[in-house]
């Protein structure tokens, strides 16, 4: 009996590990951002590490979420995107909503929905399996990240400082992504490097 014990233990650890791959990989700010390859709305593969040498913003989005609509309908998110892309920053909007969710939007519709709101991300990426979202520890829509030219995570958190669904608060709030990017582009350390993300939960596929 005795020699079998370690084998059983190894099996159970392996089984546990397969359940928790993302939990261990979630990067802290300052650590390397996990690389990923996701397809865009046209089926083209986009790889994070292809953008080394540039700052990259990752935006978790889902038009079914009222907090995402707050920032799109008010024009805040599109304006932040245009501002960033205009400064040579790569902006990736990622949708990790599972296909089974009633909030799931077909890729083409998602692009059209964004276009109607004058949005300007570099790519809209699909993560229906939720692997990339879990690898970054994305919890809410919106949940924002900035990756620096060396591929390190330098910002993780909310779009701004006032967690509410009221678009009138946007004017009073500090836009952390805009502030973080302007500091990072000036070669400075980001002062608010981790903040509270707020919004709806990401509608992950269960057991992914």
């Amino acid at each position: 009996m005795l020699p079998r014990r370690p084998f059983i233990a190894a099996c159970s650890i392996a089984a546990l590990a397969s359940f928790l791959p993302a939990a261990h990989a979630v990067p802290a700010v300052g650590q390397a951002a996990p690389d990923f390859t996701l397809s865009d709305a046209n089926g083209k593969a986009v790889k994070l590490s292809d953008f080394r040498g540039k700052h990259v913003v990752l935006e978790w989005t889902n038009p079914g979420c009222p907090y995402v609509r707050k920032h799109y309908d008010s024009g805040n998110m599109p304006a932040t995107q245009r501002d960033a892309v205009g400064k040579g920053v790569v902006w990736l909007s990622i949708n990790s909503t599972e296909k089974g969710s009633y909030e799931y939007m077909e890729p083409a519709k998602l692009v059209a929905w964004q276009k109607e709101r004058d949005s300007a991300p570099t790519h809209v990426l699909l993560d229906e399996e939720g692997t990339t979202g879990r690898a970054f520890g994305a919890r809410t829509t919106p949940h924002m990240y900035i990756v620096d030219p060396q591929g390190r995570l330098v910002y993780a958190g909310g779009i701004d400082s006032i967690p509410s669904s009221n678009p009138a608060d946007i004017q009073r709030a500090t836009n952390y992504v805009k502030q973080g990017l302007s500091e990072a582009l000036a070669g400075k350390q980001i002062t608010a490097a981790t903040t509270r993300p707020y919004g709806c939960s990401v509608k992950y596929k269960s057991g992914a």
């Binding site: 802290a28 089974g100 919890r139 400082s161 350390q189 980001i190 002062t191 490097a193 939960s201 992950y204």
Partner: protein
Amino acid sequence: MSAFIRLLLATWFLALGASAHAQAPGRSVVTTEQVRAELLAHAPEGVAAGRPVWLGLQLTHKPEWHTYWKNSGDSGLPTQLEWTLPPGVLAGDIQWPVPVKIPIGSLANYGYEGTVLLPVPLEIAPDFKPSMLAQELDVRLKASWLVCRKECIPEEGEFAIKLPIRGSTGLNAQAFEAAFAAQPKPVLTTPGKLIPDSTAEIADGALNVRVQGLPASVRGRKLEFFPETPEVIQTAGAWTQDWNGAVWTAKVPLSPQRAASPAVMPVVVTDGKAGWRAELKVVGHWPKTAAPAAVSPALEEALRNNAAGKPAAPAGPGIGFFAALVGALVGGLVLNLMPCVFPVLAIKVVGFASHGGDTRARRLSGAAYTGGVVLSFVALGGLMLALRAAGEQLGWGFQLQSPLVVAALAALFTLIALNLAGVFEFGSLLPTAVASLEARHPVGNAFLSGVLAVAIASPCTAPFMGASLGLAVTLPPAQALAVFAVLGLGMALPYLAASLTPAAARWLPRPGAWMDVFRKLMAFPMFATVAWLVWVLGQQSGIDGAGALLALLVAMSLLVWTLTLRGRARMVLSGVAVLGLAALAWAALPQIAQPPAPAQQTAARAEGEWQPWSQSRVEELVAEGRPVFVDFTAAWCVTCQYNKKTTLANREVMAGLKQANVALLRADWTRRDPAITAALTALGRSGVPVYVFYKKGSAPVVLSEVLGVEEVLSVVSAP
């Protein structure tokens, strides 16, 4: 999910606008598709000062839907209440009943399902005098809540009720009693630490929680854990719990993307029904979350070349490096004028006078002193760089953040002062061989006085030095150490120059009886330094620590004096003194090293118009449009204390700041604080004092280390 349900939900969304916003004011109930919300009141003894008067929002959720607790967890938002009440009536905070943990796949929230009442106490001021005609109190409420199942819907409602002022309102007594029963009760604490503090110890990416003072009835049972502070733990992370006698323990994983680093973490634990609230004292240092400072492309290139084993291109160091060297030299020079260097200056004056006309001795002594100063700066700088490289969050002056180092310096200065005052000669204490060695080696003596000068001068960041040191920590080690060496050279330069110039000897007075008087006089600045160090220790370790240090110093002085005696008296008395000193040291050292009780802690104490600093507070205030002035200070930094007592106490300055509605924040770096170190790094500094002025829409302005009245006023009044 079927198309039918999707259609159904779409209709709900459409209905939402109509249902949540179309409620006419004057209603006490607002009903949406997900929630029935009702404003309730409870005033069994009428509305008057001192009587219990409660309002509350009762939320009844449809099955599967929930709203949120004060910390909503991974997503969601707490319910918010905005009251409109007559003058003299104030609403308190929501008294949150114990929540439940609501898992959503790999995430988790804290909130309420079913029916919950969020009670709010009303405070009636004694001068609340409704007119004789008024029979009722008008209450208006605007409430906003986020209700979620998997999907989330932000909703709001306006409510109004009238409370009879003289009659009793008690219809909802049962609902309020239930809400009061669902309040977390404070855990048992005792004065004098009979029950130790509840703590949260930071270790290996997790919090080791110890909750004390829970009732015996829950002992051994599984509890649920709810931190009130958001963004600290992994809400849905796997955690463990156990009972250790009367103490409930848990190991909870920290969030890798943590956005808060509190010193005290209030938490609620529940057994499913009842809950208890404990304020956990955080033990240990939060792992740093700030990203490494950006590296310039040129340095990046050089690092890559180094890594590849290629010699770096022989490009000269940038202008930044030379500017840093010049700044360091000037800064070192000015350091001699800083208030904290004065006692050291005294030692040097005595040293100079005793050499009198001996040119060679003076030159040697000057060179040895310079060597001592430069090497000490390099050693201290190297140590700081090595510790930073190992991931420690510290900056210049870090050595004085340790209470034991402060105590050791106080002991050293007491010895020097006693020596200067003539209580003892080093020769009478040390074995003859060592004493004569000392006498034969005045060079070694001068070298050591240089080391001493650095030890005591290092906490004072002089003007020009701040920027250089801030830059030094970002340079490669060789260049950084060069900056430290030049800094030392600058500090030693006046003595070195004087020792090399024959003319200097001529204006020095001839040695004579005056020297003894002068030497004894100089004992007093030394004692003054001891007084200052005891005060610093008091800031770090509280009044008990300072008292313990004073007792130790007295015992040490007694020992030193007994050693100057002869014969049997020396044997007996010094033996007693050694025993006394040892016993005291054994008893007192833990007192000295221990941080003070929270009540005595200066870090979090608001002093007058100054609020305690935190980065989030600065951002909050700036976002509100208020300008902010931050004083980065430390008790051991004399320049800081000087500025505090002069410019920052100046009536004109304070009036100017007040007039511009500037919020005053003070960051106290007396003890180690990684958050303050990170903020200093972000400002390009590594030591205190630093004075910063923030204003919305413009870059922060860093003021000079020796703060001028004009300077503050001009920065504040700048458009």
